[in-house]
């Protein structure tokens, strides 16, 4: 390594003349509070990029020496690229963190604990707990999200199916899915994809009374019969052709099928509001209902937090920005055009932004919400979940067998943490 550094330094002088096109990150002068500083802010949601940019602009108004550059990396690449960047010491100064990745980043000291004594009581407790590691908070929750059933009213009307009621059950849902399916027109009652468990498997597992990971984080719940019931809920829908099969959903994802009018009921998050109200097909055709009740009522709650890279050149400015993003003022701005802000009491603006939709549904469900299942190396068993369950979803292996195989593999991975 040392060798290559020296050699490349020699080389540098030779080639810089040719590539005299710098723009690299020059060293920053240290700790001059009045120096102009540009913070990079990594986010993954294109729909939220404009809101984040206006928040950044708002911040610069009160902190004229700090400007913020919002960097969008689409969700599919976000964690890959962030990991690579963090390994190379080039992570953004401030970035979005989620539950499954948090403990990995905190335990490897890629992100640092928050200095001072932030007031965490203004955010929902499941969210601040999610971002606490070894007793210390590592960031402030930015937003929260819960899950609901988005449904296409036009398709309901066409089949004269009544819209979902707030107290509907699994049986009501299955009944509606059967009635709404119209094979001749290529229309499915719902979609049972495999990919993001937050809106699908984790919810039904909780509704069935099962669990994904034991509270102490040591044991997988996939072998539990109730957990398996939460999985067969979905595989049965595919078997009954009320959902496209896994191959079809690989070719065209359910959200696009929903936006093309091919799916009547789409399990989605509160974060889908901006997409569905902007999309020229779904606009005006859809509404949202709570998740149907199984053995009990449940939805997964999750929220994104803003965290600071441990290697940032400007920790003071970065934390100042995170504090601003966690403030009531920022939450109110976020709620007008973005996701549900995490700051208690600022959520009404979010509901009122789209009076045509029953958005209160997402807030009401907080009362029975269950936390997102995570451990220290969540990614490892997330990969196992997909590897094993793909076989069940594709009909190669019975669901209960795939689930018990998965439980064994996951237990082995948890033992290594």
């Amino acid at each position: 390594m040392r060798m290559s550094k020296r050699l490349s330094a020699v080389l540098l002088s030779a080639v810089l003349a040719v590539s005299a096109c710098s723009g690299g990150t020059g060293a920053q002068p240290a700790a001059d509070p009045n120096a102009k500083v540009t913070l990079s802010y990594g986010v993954w949601d294109a729909n939220q990029k404009p809101v984040m940019e206006s928040l950044a602009a708002e911040f610069t108004k009160t902190h004229p020496n700090i400007s913020v550059e919002v960097q969008l990396t689409p969700w599919a690449d976000y964690w890959t690229k962030l990991k690579a960047a963090a390994t190379g010491g080039a992570a953004p100064d401030v970035f979005w963190m989620n539950g499954p990745n948090f403990q990995l980043y905190a335990s490897n000291k890629v992100i640092g604990p928050m200095p001072g004594q932030p007031d965490l009581s203004v955010y929902p407790k499941p969210l601040t707990d999610l971002y606490t590691f070894e007793g210390k908070p590592y960031g402030l929750p930015k937003d929260m999200d819960t899950v609901g059933v988005w449904y296409n009213k036009t398709l309901f009307d066409a089949k004269q199916v009544p819209y979902p009621k707030d107290d509907w059950t699994w049986a009501d849902f299955q009944d509606a899915a059967a009635k709404l399916t119209d094979a001749g027109k290529g229309i499915y009652g719902t979609a049972a994809p495999l990919g993001s468990f937050q809106e699908y498997q984790y919810d039904t597992i909780a509704q069935a009374g099962g669990y994904v990971i034991s509270p102490d984080g040591k044991k997988s719940g996939y072998g539990d019969p109730k957990t398996i019931a939460g999985l067969t809920f979905w595989t049965d829908l595919i078997k009954n052709k009320q959902s496209p099969d896994l191959k079809t959903m690989t070719d065209t994802t359910p959200i696009q099928l929903f936006e093309a009018g091919k799916i009547a009921m789409y399990w989605g998050g509160s974060w889908n509001v901006s997409e569905f109200t902007a999309n020229s097909y779904t606009k005006g055709k859809i509404d949202v209902a709570p998740l149907p009740r199984g053995e009990k009522q449940a939805t997964i709650i999750h929220g994104v937090a803003n965290v600071v890279s441990a290697k940032t050149d400007h920790p003071d400015q970065a934390w100042e920005f995170v504090r601003f993003l966690g403030s009531k003022e920022a939450a109110q701005l976020l709620g007008q055009k973005g996701p549900i802000p995490a700051y208690n009491g600022t959520q009404t603006a979010w509901v009122k932004a789209h009076p045509e939709l029953k958005l209160q549904t997402f807030l009401d469900s907080v009362s029975y919400a269950v936390p997102f299942p995570v451990s220290k190396n969540t990614a490892a068993w997330n990969e196992a979940e997909l590897t094993y369950l793909t076989k069940a979803w594709n009909g190669e292996v019975p669901t209960d067998q795939a689930a018990t195989d998965l439980a064994k593999a996951m237990d082995a991975l948890l033992a290594k943490e």
Partner: protein
């Protein structure tokens, strides 16, 4: 005179210095480092420790590596179909009095210059099981086509079709040049001996084209073994890609290398995977050079 020699030598070194240094730093030294890394294990965010041959033992037991090898070799072997196709088209275009040769050549050439990422996206759409153009055309003749790149039975072959489609134009250009280099006298002599079109093709054209075919086959095998772009777009990478039921049929050696090196940051293991690729390329290329005596005719 001696001083002149010394001066010439100095100039020689000066002229090769930029490339020489660049190659040393960015190519030669990295090969040695990769060989070294293949004997180490890496942490999630950097730092590595010596583990000897552990990575190579892991290679032997890893079912994903086995699948990636089978897929890559199958793709490579079937990809050679582009050679007879290209020869066929070259011969047709090279016929006497052929018109619109320039136009055909341009059209065949389009995929060669198009960005592979773009090609993969277009084909993924063409291959769509429910709304793709291919299955629509098949439905017109009463065939219910599969989800080409999501079905384990068809995914790899669908990939081969794209690979051949994209490379046939390149090979065509090389074979056309090869055909034009064959002296007319050979054909005249064959005609005097009473050889017709087909006999001329088998007794004059093919043997004289065989050195070109050999070159093309060496280059295309090396290229196919490194298949990545198409798979990266059509199958993706990371945990999410594993929800595609055809994923086990789409993984290739370089795709696996990418995942281990830059998705899971398991760089020591990734280094072992590319060392295996190097071995594969060396062996297959050497085998082709040995085997060429059996079929390549040097005039």
């Amino acid at each position: 005179m001696n001083r002149g020699r010394a001066r010439e030598a100095l100039w020689g070194y000066a002229f090769i210095a930029p490339t020489g240094l660049g190659i040393a730093v960015f190519y030669l030294w990295p090969v040695l480092q990769t060989a070294y890394f293949s004997l180490t294990e890496w942490g999630a965010f950097g730092g590595h420790t010596w583990t000897g041959l552990d990575n190579y033992r892991r290679l032997a037991d890893d079912p994903e590596v086995g699948r990636a090898l089978v897929n890559t070799l199958t793709y490579t072997a079937l990809g050679l179909l582009s050679i007879p196709l290209a020869i066929g088209f070259a011969v047709l275009l090279n016929r006497k009095g052929m018109r619109f040769v320039g136009l055909y050549r341009t059209l065949f050439f389009l995929p060669v210059v198009t960005m592979p990422v773009a090609i993969a996206m277009v084909w993924r759409w063409l291959y769509n099981g429910d709304y793709g153009l291919i299955n629509y055309l098949l439905s017109l003749v009463g065939i219910d086509g599969p989800n080409w790149v999501a079905d384990p039975a068809t995914a790899l072959y669908a990939l081969v079709v794209v690979g051949v489609w994209a490379s046939v134009g390149y090979n065509l250009i090389i074979f056309l040049a090869g055909l034009q280099a064959i002296p007319k006298e050979y054909y005249e002599a064959a005609a005097i001996d009473g050889a017709g079109g087909w006999r001329q093709f088998f007794h004059v054209t093919l043997p004289l084209l065989s050195p070109t075919a050999f070159f093309v086959s060496v280059v295309s095998v090396i290229g196919s073994l490194q298949l990545f772009d198409l798979v990266y777009v059509m199958a993706g990478s990371g945990a999410g890609a594993r929800a595609n039921p055809a994923f086990p049929r789409l993984q290739t050696v370089v795709q696996l290398f990418y995942e281990r090196a830059f998705v899971t940051n398991d760089r020591g293991y990734a280094a072992a995977i590319v060392m295996m690729l190097l071995l594969l390329i060396v062996v297959l290329t050497a085998a082709q050079f040995r085997f060429q005596k059996k079929w390549v005719h040097y005039a």
